[in-house]
Amino acid sequence: MTLFFVVTLNGLSLAALYFIAASGFSLVFGVMRVVNMAHGSLILLGAYVAFDIAEWSGSWVLGALAGSLAAALAGVLLQVLFFNRMAGSKDQQTLVSIAVSIIAADLMLAHWGGLTYQLNLPSLLEGSIGLPLLGVNYAKIRIVLIVAAIAVGVGLWLLIAKTNLGRLIRAGVDDQEMLHALGFNVKGLFIAVFALGGALAGFAGVVAATALSVAPGTDVQFLLAALIVVIVGGMGSIGGAAIGAILVGLSEQYGLVYAPTYGIVFTFIIMIGVLGLRPQGLFGRGDVG
């Protein structure tokens, strides 16, 4: 029984990581209707830059800031160089992002090599704490992961629901042209959205590099996780992404322990099941074409 609870906790903390990875992806999709397949590249870039800066400055916090900032800048570049120029064609934007992700993976390999990178934990988060009742030790970082995901989720919700930027983002989704005619620079707004999505991706990379590690291939791995999470939950819904992440995280960890051989298939079966019954995902709006 203890094992079951710990595995559940592991599933939730993995879900937390997936949620952070998926939140930026979902935000960009929700606002811009762009399926940004280069999201995984932004995650990996954030992790690499964070490592370099943390190594140079000796500070995890500086590294995390730099990683998020670098990914935000890359997100802005994507929007300015490509997506902005082809606003009409969603399919084309998706394809461009695939091409960009191929190039980005190769260039990052050229610069950072094929090695595995792991970020030093801030000493505050090192080690484990005893879990009451269960009598086992549990890694602090994984508890922090859950807290961080909740913070990101609540922060995003507050941003969208309560701030002026959030209102403008919603207005921009509703009627871009009208917002333009009311005196707002819509291009700038969308650049801000991409910067935010990129920063979230970069932060996800930092978290992944701290809790686990990153290497070539991490980009595809997290892109796939983000895709599944967001699709199961419903594109563009932050709450949906949270539910999707929990489903995926739990199924992965239960599968690993209780059905090691075929457990890895479960996640995808869940996804097929959800989409078969609810084609727009659990919390998706039906207007996605």
Binding site: R167, R170, D174, D175, H180, A181, L182, G183, F184
Partner: protein, 241 residues
């Protein structure tokens, strides 16, 4: 146009193409202190003219001046920040924003003449519905919201595209009242309408638009009482729409 009036907006020889269709053909119009109304049937180019003035459609010829300065190369947001406010056909309020949020995004600072409070004063109905989302409002409420958010730009010129379309008569009267009041407060108004009586109530002279051209300017009182002329120019009667 009165002689002492230096126009807020002046369009001369405006041409506009959509694909190979020549939508606006050499339109010239000046808008000064007195409200101007353009009437015409559907598909005559009225909405295109509004959008062209707002910068939402590119001109293929002619030019538009705002306060004597050419604005042809300016983007819609620049024009909005420099005195043009647009109340589009169909209202186009934001469905996922509440009434209050519509006004909040339009807040800029202390020097704003039109504040949230002032809008709620002239549209008390909106104050009651301040936390309703845009898609949960009646047509009349949406129209007030659209006018209100436009006013928050502190415009020199308000461009209204069929603001009374689909509204109950009592609401129509209210809208007209508000527009008259705004005009007396010094806001220039360009009204595009199919509803002859509304246009006539607001403006002394009506410009008639047919097939992308303004073919005549007729005093309102004259057109209101001449059914033959109404049918000839507009194919409409007083009872309107």
């Amino acid at each position: 146009m009165d002689a002492q009036d230096s126009p807020v907006l002046s369009a001369s020889n405006v041409d506009l193409h959509y694909g190979s269709v020549h939508i606006l053909q050499g339109i010239s119009i000046d808008i000064g202190a007195l409200p101007r109304a353009i009437i015409g049937r559907n598909g005559m180019g009225k909405t295109s003219l509004c959008r062209a003035i707002m910068g939402l459609l590119p001109l293929s010829g002619g030019n538009i001046n705002l306060n004597g300065v050419a604005i042809d190369h300016r983007a819609p947001d620049w024009r909005a920040r420099h005195g043009l406010a647009y109340v589009p056909q169909g209202r186009r309020v934001f469905p996922t924003l509440t009434v209050d949020e519509h006004f909040r995004i339009m807040q800029r600072g202390k020097n704003q003449q039109w504040t949230r409070e002032r809008i709620y004063d002239i549209f008390p109905r909106l104050a009651e519905r301040r936390s309703n989302f845009g898609n949960r409002l009646s047509g009349g409420e949406q129209q007030m919201l659209a006018i209100g958010r436009a006013l928050m730009m502190d415009p020199r010129l308000l461009i209204l595209d069929e603001p009374t379309e689909g509204l109950a008569p009592v609401i129509v009267d209210h809208v007209v009242e508000i527009l008259q009041q705004l005009s007396t407060e010094g806001i220039a108004i360009l009204l595009v309408e199919q509803n002859l009586s509304v246009a006539a109530e607001l403006a002394d002279e009506l410009s008639i638009m047919v097939n992308g051209q303004i073919i005549d300017h007729i005093p309102s009182s004259q057109l209101l009482h001449d059914e033959t002329m109404q049918r000839r120019y507009l194919g409409i009667s007083l009872d309107g729409h």
